[in-house]
Every structure is written in C-alpha cells, then in structure tokens.
C-alpha cells in the first residue's frame, strides 16, 4: 500500500510537459544557421590540391575557387558565432511560455562565468504578416536586468513562418566591456545580418563595423551570400582597408550546382581603382580562363569557356 501511495504521489507530481504545437511556430521563426549559411556544390567538399603558385594557366586548379571556398567557410563560421547559440537553445523546449512569447533560460554562461543568458522570442504583430522579435540577452548573476547580446526581428512570409525576411544585430560595442570576448570581436563595434528566405535566391548579408584604430587593417567588412533553387550560389565580400592602393576591394564569386564558376575581384577605391582580375573554373575546379586587366597583367585560356550564371 505504501508503494501504491508513493507511486501515486510521484505520478501526480510528474504531470505536465513540453508538448506544444505552438512552440514549433516560435522555433521556426528563429533564424537557423542551416537556413542562412552559404552552400557550395556537393562536389566541392573534396579538397583540391594546389600545385601552382599562381592562377596563370588554364587547366590548373583554380586559386579563385579555393579563395571562394575559404570565404564561404569564413562566412559560415561567422554565422556560427551568434546563430550557433540559437541552435543550441532551440534543441530543447522553451523553459517558459507566456501567451505569445517563449523563453529559454536563463542558463549559466559557460564561457563567461558569473553570467547567465536567456533567449526570448515574441509574436509582436500579425499584420500584414506575423512579425516576431527575439533577443539573446545576458546578465550578471544576482542582477535583475538583462542586456542584449543579439537582437533580431523576423517577418514571416504569407505562407509559412518557416520562411521570411529578418534582421539581426550584434551590438558588440554595448557589451564588450562586460562579457569576455575573443580577440576578433574586441576590434568590432557591431555586426549586422540581413536575410531573405521567402523567395529565391535566398540571400544573407553580413556587415562588420570595426572599432576605429583597430589592428586588423579593416574599417568594415561585408559579405553577401545567395542561394538559388537550382543549387547555384554566390558569395561576395567587400572590405575596406587602410592601404591607399586598395582602399576598397570588391570580390564576387558565383557557381553553378555542378561546381563550375567565376570570380571577379575589383579594386573599388584606392590608387588601383578599376583594376580587375577575372578567373573562371570548370566543374573539376580547374582554371578555364584567367585575366588581369591592368598593364602587364596576365591572361590564359578562352573567355568563351567561362560559365554564365544569371540571376545571382
């Protein structure tokens, strides 16, 4: 009889749970790394050995593709910084539910002892489409007020909350003095991310604003990634430096689903303004065309062998 009583008490206290259809809507409204990351063709996962020192000759492994791949890797790595936290939080059900909002946490911040953080998302409007606002916040243990680490807004598409358009801001300058950050972030003032997933091509743009006088040599850095429905994609970045010859360098790379692509690097500002380098590669990531447009620049292959990628 005691066992029965114990069983009953335990069972009664165990009632409840995380079974919520509505939670899924909030979870789907949060941006995910998988949805916003740049994706290279599947064949690009194999490493191409670079056997040459420059991109002079057609038929040799493409240096421009290797740089594109690195840029994509860097871009995705940056997304990991603030979307990775969301992915981690999203893996568990919300801690609390309050009408049209959901909160995960507070959780102890492992990388910042003495701090805890929480993620909150709320449905803040329904016209013309559902609009969500969300925040990743932190606070020192024992203090009541949270401060924003990442904040975002998302407007769902008319069809589904899984797709839409959103903005994310990381106001590094506001919390840099409180949280322990890695070295690259100590030289940043803010990170801005915009994305559109409601229509193709999906786009994600990243913009970094650096602290004046930082040691990286950059004042700002921007990425833009696009993904088309057919698997083709593009990655562009623009960086500003203190080098008077290449004050701003713009690079745009595009690729087809089979891997063939083209990269164009242009000096946008500086003494070498207008200098352009074009490199095309085939599905085997071998150079098909290479050209530098400045005097004495090199050229290899036939321009007609370059792929044409429209809409990106």
């Amino acid at each position: 009889m005691r066992l029965l009583l114990l069983f009953t008490v335990l069972a009664l206290t165990a009632c409840g749970g995380t079974w919520s259809n509505r939670d899924l809507e909030f979870v789907a409204a949060l941006p995910s790394r998988a949805a916003l990351s740049a994706k290279l063709p599947a064949s690009a996962t194999s490493t191409q050995p670079l056997s040459r020192s420059d991109g002079l000759n057609a038929g040799e492994p493409s240096q421009a593709f290797a740089e594109t791949k690195k840029a994509v890797t860097d871009f995705n790595g940056l997304l990991d910084f603030f979307l990775g936290v969301l992915d981690t939080v999203r893996a568990v059900p919300p801690t609390s539910r309050d009408g049209e909002s959901r909160t995960w946490g507070p959780f102890t911040a492992k990388d910042n002892p003495g701090f805890e953080f929480q993620v909150t998302i709320a449905l803040i409007g329904t016209e013309p489409q559902d609009t969500y606002g969300w925040k990743l916040q932190a606070r020192r243990l024992g203090t009541p007020a949270f401060f924003d680490v990442v904040r975002g807004a998302f407007q769902a598409s008319a069809e589904t909350v899984r797709k839409g358009m959103g903005q994310i801001e990381v106001p590094v300058k506001d919390f840099r003095d409180q949280l322990k950050l890695g070295e690259p972030f100590n030289q940043l003032d803010s990170i801005q991310l915009g994305y559109v997933t409601s229509s193709f091509p999906n786009t994600s743009t990243l913009a970094f604003t650096f602290t004046p006088g930082n040691t990286s040599g950059f004042s700002s850095l921007g990425y833009a990634a696009k993904r088309a429905e057919d698997g083709s994609g593009a990655m562009g970045f623009s960086l500003k430096t203190t080098d008077v010859n290449t004050t701003r360098l713009d690079v745009i790379s595009k690729w087809r689903a089979d891997g063939a692509g083209i990269s164009i690097a242009t000096v946008g500002e500086g003494n070498y303004r207008g200098a352009t380098k074009v490199e095309c590669w085939n599905a085997s990531f071998k150079v098909t065309f290479f050209k530098e447009n400045w005097p004495g620049g090199r050229e290899s292959g036939t321009q007609a062998d370059c792929v044409s990628i429209e809409g990106l």
Binding site: A11, T18, W19, A28, E159
Partner: protein, 545 residues
Amino acid sequence: MTPSLPASFVRARHVLLACLVASTALADAPATGPLRRFALFVGNNEGGEGTRPLLYAADDARRMHDVMLRLGGTAQSDAMLLVNDSSDDVLTALSELERRARDARTRGDRTSLFFYYSGHAKDGALRLGNTKLPMESVKARLAQGPTDMRVAVFDACRSGSLTRTKGVRKAPAFEVETDATRAAKGLVILTSSASDEDSQESDAIGASYFSYHLASGLLGSADQNGDGRVSLAEAYAYAYERTVASTADSAAGPQHPTFSFDLAGNGDLMLTDVVQRNEGLRIPGDAPPGTYFLIDRRGVVVAEITKTEPERMIALSPGTYTVKRRLTDRLRVGEVRIADGQISTLNENELKNAKFSDDPVKGTGLTTVYSRHWSISASGQYQAIFDAPTASGGLFPSAPMVGGEATVHNFFGRGFAWSFDGQYGWSTGVVASPRLGSPAGYRYSLITVGTSLFYEWNEEGTWVPFLGARLGLSIMNREFDEAIFPRQSFTTMSPGVVAGLKYRLGRSFGLVARGRVHYLLYNVDETRSLGFAEVGLMLNYEFRD
C-alpha cells in the same frame, strides 16, 4: 448449545427420533383432510461484515427446492425460493405462506411447512447479506406458525479452517434448541452441525456436506425400509451418518447434525415419494453391493446411494449421468441416461474399469477459483484519442500498443481483483498549423503504466465479465523529422474505467477482450479536457492450485 452425540449413541438417537415422530406426528394421519405442503427455501452466500462469502449456500437452496418440488408433494405455487435476499424478504415470504396455510386450514386441509435455510449464522442471528434475522425470533415464529407440521432445516455454522467451511469468524455458537420440553407443538428442527462445529462445503459435490446428503437422501438414498418413500426420520438418519462420515477426515473435523422436536399426535412425516415420481435410476437387486455415485456433466457428484441386497431407486431428474463405483483397486465407471418420466435400470456389467487417476469426479473447483491467485497477460490493443486528428490540429495521435498485465484475483474479497499493467505504443503524426504552412512530421511513442480495481462476475464460468476503475500514468514522446524542432514529451495521470470479458480456453488460459475509457488533461499550450479509449485482446494465464 447443541451437544454432539458419541458415535455409539448415533443409531439409538435415530431410533428415538423415528419413534417420537411416529408416535406423535400429525402429518399423515388418515383421519383428517388432504395434506397441503408449503415450503420456503432460503439461500444466501453473503453474510455481511465479519464473514466471507460462501460458495454453495444459494445452490443448496435451489437444489433442495428442486427436490421438494419434484418429490415432496409441494406444488409450485406453494413453494418460494429466496436466493441472496434480505431478512425482510424472508419474513415477508413466511407471512405469505402462513396466510395461505390459514386459508387452507379454513377449508379443512391439513398443512405443513418446510423451511430450509442455507447461509451464514453468527452471534445468534441468521445473516442474509447485510441483514440479520435473530434465531430466537425465527424459532418462535415457526413454533407459533399456523401449519399443523413444521420442519425447519438450518444449514449454517461458524466459519472454519482450511477446508471449505461456512465462513464466519470465531463467535458464539449457532444454537438450535434441542430440548424437547418446549411447549411449541408440531415443530422439528434439523441443523447441519453441532454448536461448536463448522458446517463444511465441498467442491467435489458442489454443496455443503449436510445439504448434499440430505438432498441425496431425499432422492431415495435414505429409503431404509425400501417402501419407496423417505420419511423425516430416514432423511435425518441418512444425512447424519453420511455427513459425519464425509467430514470425519476433514481438516475442520467431523460435523455432527442435530435435531430438536416438539410434536404431538402420531404417524410419521413423509418428505418425499420416490416411487410416485416414477423417474430416475433403478439399481437392481443383482447389482453388486456398494456405494454408487451419480455425477453430472460438470464432474460434480449430485447423489450417491449405498446398495445392499434389495434393489434401490434414486429419483434423479432427467439427464445424462456418469455412474461411479469404487472398488479397492479400481473404479467402475459408466454412463446412464434418465429420460423424462421414465426409470432407467443400471446394468453394472456395462460399467468399465478405470484407474483412480481417471476418476470422473472433477468437482466445481470453486474453492480454487475464488481463492486469491495471480494471473499474467500479454496484451495487444489500440488507443484512440478523443481529439481532432493531428493533421487537423489535434495534439496526440492514436496508436497501437503492446504490453502486459499482472492481476491478483479475489484480492479484496471474492470477485474483486487488483491489477498492474504496462504498455508501449508507437505511431507517427504531424503537427499542422496555418503558421507552420507545411506540416511537421514526427515519430510518436507512448508508455503507460496503470493499476486497476475491478470486479469479476461468474468467475467459475466460461465467460467472465468484469468492470472496474483504473488509474494510469501516460508518458508521451515525439521526435520531429526536422532537426530544428526539439523533442517534446508529456506526462499525465488519467483516471478511467475498464471493462471486458474473459473467455476461458481451459483451466488456466483465457482470452480477454478489454476496453478502457480514460480522461486526459492537457495543460501546456492551453487547458483542454481530452480522453482516450483503448480496445484490445489479451492472452491470460491464471496461476491456480
């Protein structure tokens, strides 16, 4: 207190009863009008608080009712059978019969009343379920009754020991006055046991020993003088001897029936007329002497008769019986059929030799059936949720389930069982909402554990229905096909009802069809009262001695 007589005085006592009845009874005196025989038969297995249910008291009353109607000259309209009724019902029935008896006497008829009771008695009262009927008031009522002759038979006692005994707790004796000095006239009282004894029941005969032997005697076994009729004295003498013999080796000890009387007049009271019925089994004079047992289709002994030199007659009701005669080294077994309104003659030569291990007496097995015992079951069932389909916004999908159950039968008394069960279910579902657009598919799993209290009817039968309440704990989980969605779970207690029907495939195995209906409270996104129903089949195995 009713003294039990030493064995050496048994025969003398029977002679005494016969002589007293013969010299004083009014019953068959030819000088007066026809005898109108009224009869009231009362049987109640339940004795209320402080007792445990009997197995055969109600059946004893039915059996005695049948015998007296077939052979005792009692018209159907003059007999009443009360099974598991209250003391008020008994008194009402008695009043009605007394009224009819007065009417009959007014018309010049002689009258008799046969009152039979089988059930519990405790603290000086007959126990009829949760009602009581004081013994003294019954005796006084009978003593002052309007009929010329009153015969009361009480088969009741205190509870007992390891054998099936009439179950009452240790208490003052069930006392029936045997002192012949009382002033009441025309009353004979028979009791099944002495004041300090238990009255025992037996699965082999499906009855209490006393009532079985009394009924068997009335069928003809007690016809000592071979006149084809069984008198009160013969019936008592036979019941006494056979009851003592049958219980001599029982764990509860020998049981000694008693009698008391207060009579005036002369002549004996004939209780049954075997010859006039002209229906039953005749054991011819040339059949080997010995005791012949008559066994019904259930394997239960319904009568026995000891054959000596002359032929014997036993007034069995129509049907097919197995006849058994026990020898020192073997059994003699055969089958006889009693046709309606005919006498069949046993041909002993047609009986076949059988080993003792092939004894056709199986007994009712009720003692085992009603004992506390375990059973286990393997189940397959389907759980249907009382909610919209998940594809239309519902919360939980319906699912097939497999599981097991352990049950303690007769745990809280006869028929009341307590069970514990566990099941595992699985299915798939989708979450569909306008905001999500395309549905989110998931894999669903369900674990339930529960405990049930239920009552089983007709435990000894082939079909055993049951009904009760259940308290279950449900633990649901779902894992989504899309990695962005976290695993979700829900745990809840759910009260419900359970009902079903068991079909016995044999002594131990049974097939059970079972249904449950439960309440389910959901309280995460909102508070909603849901429910679920489960229907399934179980293969059941009972651990019975």
